[in-house]
Symmetry: C2
């Protein structure tokens, strides 16, 4: 809670600012900010036993680790505490010792982004805002629209026109004012920033708003608790803007700083071959450079990652591994996860698992390792790509003869 | 658990049979069967306090009320314990005292049917089956495919070819053998029955398999516990085959028989105007007759309801209310739920809420009543109808001038 927050520190100039609800980037130098806590105070209030006795089964279970006064007075959706499945069959198939799938696609608007949006809604209430806005490749948008609708906030939302139908349908149903921009995510983001400044809306652009990463980090807190505080060797996830991997790392470091876990996993950063500016920077040990957005995994098709600094720092600090996957490998992973685990992820959602497979094959992850792979969004958001991955069903007339003919072939 | 099960009683001839895992209809007369329990024994083991101390947050929380030996040894998805939201804003809009939304669209395969499919998988394991099969308008199919995939069971699944893309995509991703039948649900169902007999598959057709309703009833057990055992005046839901409303009623009666609740709510049975054989039977107090399947709400487009007897009995026993809604009223309800609650339901999923609105308007539900409305499936399963309900977004180029022009209009 806010009483544990010591401030927001600039990544560039290291200055510490008071953590006001409407804070975005560093007022001095424009750098990204990181929320800091008094970890000794948290350690004093919280341990494994106090946590395990809690009945709140949502991201707000970890209130001491969150930069809020409370959870607000408005109605809210139940976000977080998504299931963590041990995937024995899939682990065997991939030649891995242990593999766990964290299915964040069962969140209320069906993606991990609900964690950031739920945080945005609480902070907007604290800031006394009347309207919330963001730009997004899709999931941040639909999650903001849904969480804000539950809380009674109007929203203005900017999406690139390539956003999949499923996500756009959500936005419209949730009553958001949607502006579909006929251009790249980069242009969409810039236009939203101009509009937010002009109209004074609350800014839910994840990279710019330091509180949102604090919402996202709850996925890491849950993983730790669900594994009984025995950390895996790797946490794998797909990377676009960089906010989620940075959030996961922040969560892990927070847990480590309070002694709730005694070792830190390494991150596996998975990007699409057609759009991997962050992984390229790591692999070549150079500053990142913009790339085109050539992948069907729309949520991670981010040529100009807005949270590059935090993401690169997270991967490096964790002694992380990077791997890029092709669109075909992503589609194959969707089928593999569905068939072996009963988990249906969108392309960006399963890219992390595609990366685990590839990293094992390439020897980047050893066979004896334990891995948690986060599925960040539900496959129902992008039906056409699911059909592309898995094909169409056999179609027959209502007759036993036609069925028998089909059964012969199967 | 099985030790509390006294048998399976035929609805027609009242004979009591041993509750074998592979049981379907009455071996004597072909009537539908109902699982019966020793409620005194359950009452002895279970009370509000023992339940509230449980950490299992899924449908298996209520093991004493379920006809299983245990939860099986195979991996499983986390089904149930879906959120119950108080919808204050929507209640005001509808002129109702209190309204709660039970969002079953956040289940692993995004519909209430996961409750029945999870049960089917456990019973198939108990029966020593190797393959599970069903026919379905879509949700039972995709939930069986997903839950069976997690548990390692192959599936054969029959769907009418009109099933929405989202549901078919799930089936294919989960690796089911899918047979898409170019005909009505009725013909699809019959073909599946013939194939199940011929190949000896485990039968997950909900009306035929008496155990599945026991899975579905868990939604009612959860509602009761989530409301602190204070029952609402009405429980509203959409009705197709009739299994879900029958399951809800079974759950409520089970709770009542063990003294966990002291009064029974009335059921609000909502069907589509274009396909309402059960509601028509109630309204006209006549036996039900087949109807055409004229509604966009595919999950309740059931002209020949397979569970008519149990459904009609449930509505009558509860002194229930019936109301039919038009496709436009269903689409309007989707928008209304999205805008006021942040809950996105598929057409059949929101039909219950459409019915609540209409029942209040018609004076069938008094303004001072409290109502729980069950949203049975996620709107992401049927994106085209969501777009039809809510429209397309405004599309502009990446320029502030174009945005300003749009803002003037909004």
């Amino acid at each position: 809670m806010m009483k544990h927050v010591t401030g927001a520190r600039c990544l560039k100039c290291a200055r510490l600012w008071p953590a006001k609800p409407s804070l975005t980037t560093c007022p001095d130098c424009g750098g990204l900010l990181d929320i800091e806590y008094d970890y000794d105070a948290i350690r004093w209030e919280l341990n494994r036993n106090t946590l395990s006795a809690r009945r709140e089964l949502s991201m707000w279970r970890y209130l001491e680790f969150l930069p809020v006064e409370g959870i607000g007075r408005r109605p809210r959706l139940r976000v977080g505490w998504s299931p963590l499945y041990e995937a024995e069959g899939l682990a065997r198939k991939l030649g891995l010792s242990r593999l766990f799938i964290k299915d964040d696609g069962v969140n209320p608007t069906a993606s991990l982004k609900d964690r950031a949006s739920a945080m945005a809604v609480v902070k907007a209430e604290e800031a006394g805002a009347e309207v919330i806005a963001c730009s997004s490749t899709g999931n941040a948008a639909s999650s903001l629209a849904g969480n804000a609708a539950a809380a009674g906030f109007p929203t203005y939302i900017f999406v690139p026109s390539r956003a999949p139908k499923g996500k756009v349908a959500q936005l419209m149903i949730f009553g958001a004012h949607v502006i579909s921009v006929d251009s790249s995510y980069e242009d969409t983001f810039k236009l939203s920033q101009q509009a937010i400044e002009r109209y004074g809306w609350y800014n839910r652009n994840a990279a710019i708003n330091p509180f949102l990463m604090e919402g996202k980090k709850t996925v890491a807190l849950e993983i730790a608790e669900q594994l009984g505080w025995h950390m895996p060797d790797f946490v794998a996830l797909s990377v676009g803007d960089g906010c989620t991997i940075a959030g996961v790392w922040k969560g892990l470091k927070d847990l480590h700083a309070t002694g709730l876990i005694d070792r830190l996993p390494r991150l596996l950063s998975v990007q699409a071959e057609g759009c991997c500016p962050l992984n390229r920077a790591i692999a070549e040990n150079k500053p990142w450079e913009p790339m085109e957005e050539n992948t069907l995994a729309d949520s991670i098709a981010v040529g100009v990652p807005r949270n590059a600094d935090k993401a690169l720092r997270a991967i490096r600090e964790s002694h992380g591994v990077v791997v890029n996957v092709s669109d075909q490998e992503i589609l194959d992973a969707a089928k593999l996860l569905g068939r072996t685990c009963g988990v249906f992820g969108e392309p960006a959602g399963v890219a992390g698992t595609a990366g685990v497979k590839k990293a094992v094959e390439k020897g980047l992850i050893p066979a004896e390792a334990s891995v948690v792979s986060i599925v960040t969004g539900n496959g129902l958001k992008d039906t056409p790509n699911a059909i592309r991955a898995a094909g169409e069903p056999v179609r027959i007339g209502p007759s036993m003869d036609e069925l028998l003919a089909v059964m012969e072939r199967l």
